[in-house]
């Protein structure tokens, strides 16, 4: 009969990869948990050391000066640039996924290049252009820059979805005398929709979280990441932790609801 030690060793080696993955997840979530915990800190001005538990920060997330203005800016910029980038990127994805045309290689290159360029170069080059044109950076230059770097990610995401579609579904629609427009409206578009929704979610989170490009092209306009970076020197107010944690839970709920909905659709 194998000894307990022996059995423990065998269990360990069999589950080694699960243990490893568990540790990786802990590593991923340590700072998230820390941010969440310190959103309950009775911090006063500097949220560096634990001072005691309070719900005040959650009851009054706008308590710190300018934090809610920054969040409002980030939300507006995020919604605007997500909408524009999703429409433009989806159109490109359909052209690439469903049409033959000359210049495909250059188009692919033009989509790939912004993703292969470091953010600091994207930000600096746009600012150099705005300065050369004597344009003062502000709200709209942020939107312009966010649309620019989100388009490529939308194209890649939606294109992958289009490529995974079964072409027989569209053929079937056409065999049933749907014209091209109807086929697109009632078959193709609904099938691609999850990809478009995922791309929009990705674009929004990229935009909402972007700091480097925004910092170059924002002038005096504040966004949430910029607010956090600027206040890092003198200590971040606990309200920023509240907003960060709230974003985390909202996004998690959206993703989980999306998964449940798509699973139920598959069943029915």
């Amino acid at each position: 009969m194998p000894s307990l030690n022996h059995r423990a060793a065998r269990w360990f080696s069999r589950n080694l990869i699960r243990i490893y993955a568990g540790l990786a997840f802990i590593y991923l979530f340590i700072p998230v948990a820390y941010t969440f915990a310190f959103s309950f800190n009775d911090a006063g001005k500097s949220n560096l050391v634990w001072q005691g538990f309070t719900l005040d920060n959650w009851k009054n997330p706008c308590g710190a000066p300018q934090v809610c203005q920054a969040v409002a800016n980030s939300l507006q910029i995020g919604i605007l640039s997500t909408t524009i980038a999703t429409v433009l990127g989806t159109m490109i994805a359909f052209a690439l996924g469903r049409h033959k045309f000359r210049g495909r290689t250059s188009t692919n290159l033009l989509i790939f290049l912004p993703m292969a360029t470091p953010e600091v170069v994207l930000g600096a080059s746009l600012l150099a252009m705005f300065l050369n044109l004597r344009i003062n950076p502000g709200f709209w230059t942020i939107v312009i820059s966010h649309v620019m770097f989100c388009i490529s990610f939308v194209v890649v995401t939606v294109k992958a979805r289009i490529a995974s579609l079964d072409p027989r579904l569209e053929q079937a629609a056409m065999d049933l005398y749907a014209n091209e427009r109807e086929t697109f409206r009632y078959v193709t578009l609904p099938l691609v929709m999850p990809g478009i929704a995922g791309a929009a979610l990705l674009a929004f989170s990229l935009s909402f979280d972007d700091f480097i490009i925004t910092n170059f092209n924002s002038g005096v306009v504040s966004t949430f990441p910029k607010f956090v970076y600027v206040s890092a020197a003198r200590g971040i107010p606990a309200q920023a932790n509240v907003i960060g944690s709230a974003m985390f839970f909202i996004a998690l709920i959206i993703v989980i609801v999306g998964q449940v909905v798509s699973r139920q659709r598959k069943k029915s």
Binding site: V32, F101, T117, P118, V120, I151
Partner: protein, 300 residues
């Protein structure tokens, strides 16, 4: 909407998957590509033009004229070669560490997670939803001089009381590794998940043991994911300045920090532009060589 314009309503349809001979694709492409040309290509050219400018004698701060002074590149490189080299070393180490952490993680999710697969995938992305700046600052406090890690380490005998974790290269590289980990994990998962389990069974039937199967079958088949993941980690890491600014000290500055301060603190646009351009060119050359060598063109 432009993409509803079926130019010909005949059955040119998705029989081959691709439609041909119409202006529809160009109408679909135009708005997005115009946006990219205007706000990506032209700015890059504008940056190239700024990089050879010179500030005239006695002119106002921030005023530059074009003199095609390519010496700017030499000057910018010579005075910043340490930061330049450091960026690539830090980004390279962070990429390797991220690969070492992410590969087993992606492997586990792809092959050993059963019905929990989707939940685990969400968990990989979930930390992203908290602002990356907040998470980086959380690390500065966790690893900081008054933080839990240092106070625990100090309890151990023989540990020097002056031990520090923040403001070190270690902290900067850890920060880079952490921040870009999901960029590594997701492409790895995507390529591992595509592997047909029957190919692994076949290797076993041919008397390959677990390790040989992994080395000769799994790893080669997951190469596209490795290439995509390392690029998605290395490129943003090489240009990053947030981790070095928050977790480092003046001697861990990366090229991104120099570009940022040349632009804002020193208002020296030509040097910032020359450095940005050199960074972009170096990365593109490295990426091209890397893709050639690893033999995958399916990135886009």
């Amino acid at each position: 909407m432009a993409f509803l314009h079926g130019a010909s309503s005949t059955h040119s349809g998705p029989k081959s998957g691709l439609k041909s001979r119409s202006i529809t694709p160009y109408l679909l492409l135009a708005p997005g590509l115009i946006w990219l040309v205007t706000f990506f290509i032209i700015p890059i050219l504008s940056l190239a033009s700024t990089s050879t400018m010179v500030r005239p004698e006695g002119a106002q701060v921030g005023t530059y004229v074009q003199e095609l002074r390519f010496q700017n590149y030499v000057d910018a490189f010579v005075s910043n070669q340490d930061q330049y080299l450091r960026s690539f070393v830090y980004a390279g180490i962070a990429t390797l560490l991220a690969l070492a952490i992410a590969y087993p993680l992606a492997y586990m999710i792809a092959f050993k997670s059963g019905k929990y697969r989707n939940i685990l995938l969400v968990l990989v992305v979930a930390p992203f939803f908290t602002s990356f700046l907040l998470r980086t600052i959380a690390w500065t406090q966790i690893l900081g001089d008054e933080g839990p890690v240092i106070s625990t380490l100090k309890l151990i005998p023989f540990v020097d009381d002056s031990i520090r974790l923040t403001a070190t290269p270690f902290a900067v590289v850890s920060g880079l590794t952490y921040n870009f980990l999901p960029f590594m994990t997701l492409p790895l998962y995507a390529s591992l998940e595509r592997i047909d389990p029957r190919t692994l069974e076949a290797a076993g039937d041919l008397y390959a043991n677990g390790f040989t199967t992994f080395r000769k079958v799994t790893v080669p088949l997951s190469m596209p994911g490795v290439v995509a993941g390392t690029l998605l980690t290395f490129i943003p890491a090489a240009g990053d300045y947030v981790n070095a600014a928050l977790l480092g000290n003046p001697s861990t500055k990366m090229i991104g920090n120099v570009i940022e301060s040349r632009f804002f603190a020193v208002v020296d646009y030509p040097t910032a532009a020359a450095l940005s351009f050199t960074l972009m060119a170096t990365i593109l050359i490295l990426v091209t060589l890397y893709i050639r060598k690893s033999g995958t063109d399916e990135l886009v």
